[in-house]
Symmetry: C2
Subunit: 423 residues, 2 copies
């Protein structure tokens, strides 16, 4: 359920798809790396492969697997980036997974190193021996480093999703002029693949699982406050990014020129606590991170620190770019559905900040329970009704003094989007 009916258009966008990941055929010279072209060839017709057995030949016509996908995109400064991401991010994820089809379907650990030609199936992959003292390197040159790190299938999927976000961001950068994509968007995506949910979040949307009444956070928010130290660290190492207008130090309020020489509370990239420092000329600059809660901003401009787009975003009436401080990489959390028993009332809830600004985890869990119990367990529309109810309660009702919640507080003034996904 997107949009709360308050306006004709909104900047939130959503996507829900079942995506087939087709094993890449004859990918000679093609690499599953970020350097790969932006072109998405997931729909390319498959060739039959010459060296397979007869049964495998028929299977290889369309060898691969499906993933289920839900995603929310909360746009800012226009809906362009959100619209594009909603149409393409799952294709980038698919593209990253195409090179992993054989590896993910093979129960043995992923190979650390692949041969030059990625056409080979897993049986043909040259497994690297556990010790590396078999090659040109003499035994005594690598005495301490003879073991290799185990890498799980799960961490390959996480890596694929992380790089898909990066490629999506690159594509927005490349097409932002031709496709008129100003602004950017937060992105929250849930991928269900081989028994596990992968929840990837870049921004201030939020996902929780409600299982048997228990709340399990599946994401955290990335804001100027939660990422303060990363941003201050970058500004400290690259002061030129601050354009002589900003200081990497944080102060609890603006400093006035007349306060020069007094002692003021501050904190830097190394500190979680506060201490006093003597105010110097440089401290009169505007702080890189400033404000509290929903009003916290990076360089007085943007309130989220991860997401897609924003390549042209600058500090108002200046030539200072914000993008270097933003990350397009998500944090990916994994929920293994096979590890738990689930009942029809167990759900994954994805919501943009329009939901979470006025409705907390416990209230969401309450609405989920309340609405689900009012429908038959096998009624397929019961989850949609929960999503709709969550949106409506966060929007509130239009009264003389604006949109009001049940408790008479102001409803969310933001776009509100919610997915409720049965586990």
């Amino acid at each position: 359920v997107i949009n709360a009916g308050k306006s004709q258009h909104n900047e939130d966008q959503a996507c829900c798809e079942v995506v087939f990941v087709e094993r890449r055929h004859s990918s000679r010279g093609r690499l599953p790396s970020r350097e790969g072209s932006g072109e998405l060839d997931g729909v390319r017709t498959m060739h039959r492969q010459g060296h397979d057995g007869e049964g495998a030949q028929r299977e290889s016509v369309r060898k691969g697997f499906y993933f289920h996908y839900w995603a929310l995109f909360d746009g800012h400064a226009g809906s362009g980036a959100a619209v594009m991401a909603s149409k393409r991010l799952h294709l980038h994820i698919c593209e990253q997974l195409r090179d992993l089809v054989d590896i993910l379907q093979d129960p043995s650990p992923p190979p650390i190193c692949l041969p030059h030609d990625a056409r080979a199936g897993p049986a043909e992959l040259s497994r690297v021996p556990l010790t590396e003292d078999n090659g040109e390197v003499p035994n005594d040159a690598v005495p301490r480093f003879h073991l290799e790190k185990a890498v799980s299938h799960e961490s390959l999927v996480i890596g694929a999703i992380e790089n898909a976000f990066k490629l999506m961001d690159d594509q927005i950068e490349q097409e932002r002029v031709s496709q008129r994509l100003p602004g950017g968007c937060c992105a929250l995506a849930a991928v269900y693949l081989m028994g596990k949910f992968y929840v990837a979040n870049a921004g201030d949307s939020r996902a929780i699982i409600i299982r048997n009444g228990e709340i399990i956070p599946m994401s955290r928010e990335f804001t100027p406050e939660t990422e303060r130290q990363r941003l201050q660290f970058l500004a400290f190492l690259r002061p030129e990014l601050l354009g002589k207008e900003f200081t990497h130090l944080e102060f609890p309020r603006r400093i006035q020129p007349k306060e020069l020489g007094k002692k003021m509370l501050y904190r830097d990239q190394n500190m979680n606590g506060w201490a006093y420092k003597k105010i110097e000329e440089d401290d009169l600059k505007f702080p890189l991170i400033y404000g509290e809660g929903k009003k916290a901003r990076v360089m007085a401009t943007i309130g989220v620190t991860r997401g897609l787009g924003d390549h042209d975003l600058k500090v108002f009436s200046s030539n200072i770019h914000i993008k270097p401080f933003l990350s397009c990489f998500p944090e990916v959390r994994v929920y293994d559905l096979t590890q738990y028993e689930h009942c029809p009332d167990d759900v994954l809830v994805l919501g943009t900040d329009g939901l979470w600004d006025v409705t907390n985890d416990e209230e969401v869990a309450g609405v989920v329970m309340e609405v689900l119990t009012s429908y038959e367990p096998n009624d397929p529309c019961r989850y949609t009704m929960v999503a709709q109810e969550l949106v409506m309660r966060s929007r509130g009702v239009l009264k003389e003094r604006g949109w009001r919640l049940a408790n008479d507080k102001l409803g969310s003034g933001d776009d509100i989007s919610v997915f409720v996904i049965p586990l």
Copy 2:
């Protein structure tokens, strides 16, 4: 209980003190900042202050408060840094707190800004109004930034401890030649002040609280694995720190020159998952972070990423410094003793990695319970007996095949130090 009796000397050091924080007198021009001199004047004789009332005059002869302090220092490459830190860190903490005596004893929120002359007591501090549109800045110039952030007393203590660690590190740097202090040390310090425990950790020591059988972690470990992304981020931004010998990328094992052009698993500063990349010339360099678990190293050299000292540490037979990748700043966690009821069996346990390498949280909690119940609740030596038992069990017993634990596994080969502190 320090040292496990296995050798004549050890690199672990410990300190336990009750420290009086004396309000700084007439500190005109003196600042509670890192720029302050390394000199510790906590023992300086007090002058009486001229402007106080008669009762306050007598009190001001020795105005201040006490804190209780326990700390463990796990030295490496010699015990010099650990010995010095064990003798001075609490004095640096004291020094940082001296400027806060009046502020911490005043129940109202700490002032954001102090006047030029810090002699003034809290009543004389010029409290800054909540809005800043009272000065030379015109109203319309700061419309969005008129509120100040609330800063708690607790966060001032945290900031004081954080900066004390930095000053301790600076002192080791300054005196390392004259005092012969090669090497460095991890530092874990617990400060009890005004009803709260502040547990500050820089390194791979560990603190837990055991309350009513429940385990509450009071620190986390800082190792090449837990701090991989911070270190990779720094190396990515400052590649010159890698001296052309290392790559900021992580690989699951060393790459051999003959593997050029193949695809290898990797991850960079943005990734938690793994992906394949084509091996290029640059990837043949040694990875900045390499190895797993206790064998993980920064630039093949050091296994901890936070601590004091190590200013001269270089990569073996090279001129590449390690110190830029190490942080001397602790993470400080706070436990409010006034929020819970405590019984005589509730304790805070501090231990160096010699303990935790062979004894996990649950086993430590089991030993605590087992030993405490075998002594009377009012027997003051019962906590010492727990610490001794924890050390002895982690050391094991000398058999023909070396020091063995009760389960016949190898005992800890490291120094083992434990504090058991009743709550």
